[in-house]
């Protein structure tokens, strides 16, 4: 069966790098330095009455979502799909702390906004959107699952899907990871990336999603990768770049040696965790990074996002350039 084409008609990211509203940001990336997120003036995107209640993750998500729609000139997407690994941590933290320290009535706002699907809900409320609204939470594969959902909707006839992912860092995460002995080798950060994925190419569209596959309990990631590429009629050395996530304490060397053996120049292999830091949906940042790389260098035909942030999970996304 012939595969459908899924065009990336808009992309927007808020991260610890200067990414928001900056085409060509990939040219000036440096190793990520937390804690400061580089954020836009949220008041330009969110009504002040709503903004005052929004936590970091909600502000990032709504601003990126609205930026995507502005880029495509769409009033409404056919669906809003989000992915998040850990959800609205700031509100969860606030609500739980209040419930421990305050006797009697608890303030409702943090509780109401502590659920994972608040992001998609707030985007929908901000836009007045009544379409399909879904949140996927599958740890480090949350974004890939959201993307697969979006692609399936396009297959079913929808035209424009707003899909994205976000996660936020709160202080207690650093404490917990320290207690667990989890040392990913890169700082824990926050980030949000949203995209409009469309059936038709838009003006200025440079990239498309050729394929996306989340693999849970991946026993042999290299075998999975080879099969994924073969399904797309590619070999490893056909790739223009591999943007990968392997935590610093894991077997990064193993993957690098595989790619080197396949003839890939080490400069073509970039660990995106060094650019955006570690959060469960960092692969969404990687997608925006890939789109931006293609926008700056149209000779990049095939970029693979290899998400092995968590050993048991493997996310594979193939991004291809679109002929002008």
């Amino acid at each position: 069966m012939e595969k459908n084409t899924y065009y990336i008609t808009a992309a927007s990211t808020i991260s610890h790098q200067d990414t928001f509203g900056k085409t060509g940001f990939s040219d000036s990336m440096s190793p990520v330095v937390p804690p400061a997120l580089i954020t836009p003036d949220y008041k330009a995107f969110i009504d002040a009455g709503l903004l005052r209640r929004m936590s970091k993750i909600l502000r990032m998500a709504v601003a990126c979502a609205k930026d995507c729609l502005a880029q495509t000139g769409l009033d409404q997407p056919d669906a809003i799909i989000t992915g998040t690994g850990l959800g609205c941590l700031q509100d969860t933290d606030k609500f739980l702390n209040t419930s421990l320290t305050v006797e009697g009535l608890l303030p409702p706002t943090a509780f109401i906004q502590s659920t994972h699907n608040t992001m998609a809900g707030q985007i929908s409320l901000s836009l007045g959107n009544h379409g399909y609204n879904m949140t996927h939470t599958q740890n480090t594969l949350s974004f890939e699952h959201a993307m697969v959902d979006a692609l399936l909707l396009l297959d079913e006839g929808e035209e424009h899907i707003l899909v994205g992912a976000a996660d936020e860092h709160i202080e207690i995460l650093s404490e917990i990871t320290s207690h667990l002995g989890y040392a990913p080798g890169f700082p824990l950060t926050s980030g949000a990336s949203f995209f409009t994925i469309s059936k038709e190419k838009g003006e200025g569209t440079v990239a498309r999603i050729a394929d996306c596959e989340p693999v849970a309990f991946a026993k042999d990631p290299v075998k999975k990768l080879t099969r994924f590429l073969n399904n797309n009629s590619l070999e490893i050395n056909d790739l223009s770049k591999i943007i990968y996530a392997v935590p610093g304490n894991a077997n990064e060397g193993e993957y690098e040696s595989i790619w080197r053996k396949a003839g890939l120049d080490p400069e073509k292999c970039i660990n995106y965790l060094s650019l955006c830091g570690v959060y469960p949906t960092a692969s969404a940042f990687a997608l925006n990074y890939a789109v931006d790389l293609i926008s700056q260098d149209r000779s990049l035909k095939n970029i693979l996002i290899f998400n092995a942030l968590r050993k048991e999970n493997l996310g594979l996304t193939l991004v291809q350039s679109v002929e002008a």
Binding site: L51, R53, G104, P108, I112
Partner: protein, 85 residues
């Protein structure tokens, strides 16, 4: 200056996270739930009920009382004084 009213304004700003608003921006007879006032909504009403218990030890159990009490800073101060007397 009425200290209770000034405290109420500060408490409302903090509890409702009213960015860019100072106590001086809220007049005593501003309608809190009116567009020309603070334009608060139903979630804010719940937050005000929590505020009264948290800062003043007052539980609002009768919704009709809340409707009158939360009209303005003046009515809130009057309600607190009445309940504490």
């Amino acid at each position: 200056m009425d200290t209770l009213k000034e405290d109420l304004k500060k408490q409302i700003i903090e509890q409702l996270n009213l960015e860019d608003i100072t106590p001086a921006d809220i007049s005593d007879d501003n309608l809190l739930f009116n567009e020309e006032g603070l334009n608060l909504d139903s979630i804010d009403a719940l937050e005000l009920i929590v505020l009264l218990e948290k800062y003043h030890g007052i539980q609002v159990t009768n919704p009709d009382e809340g409707k009158v009490a939360f009209r303005s800073i003046n009515s809130m101060a009057e309600y607190i004084r009445k309940r504490k007397s």
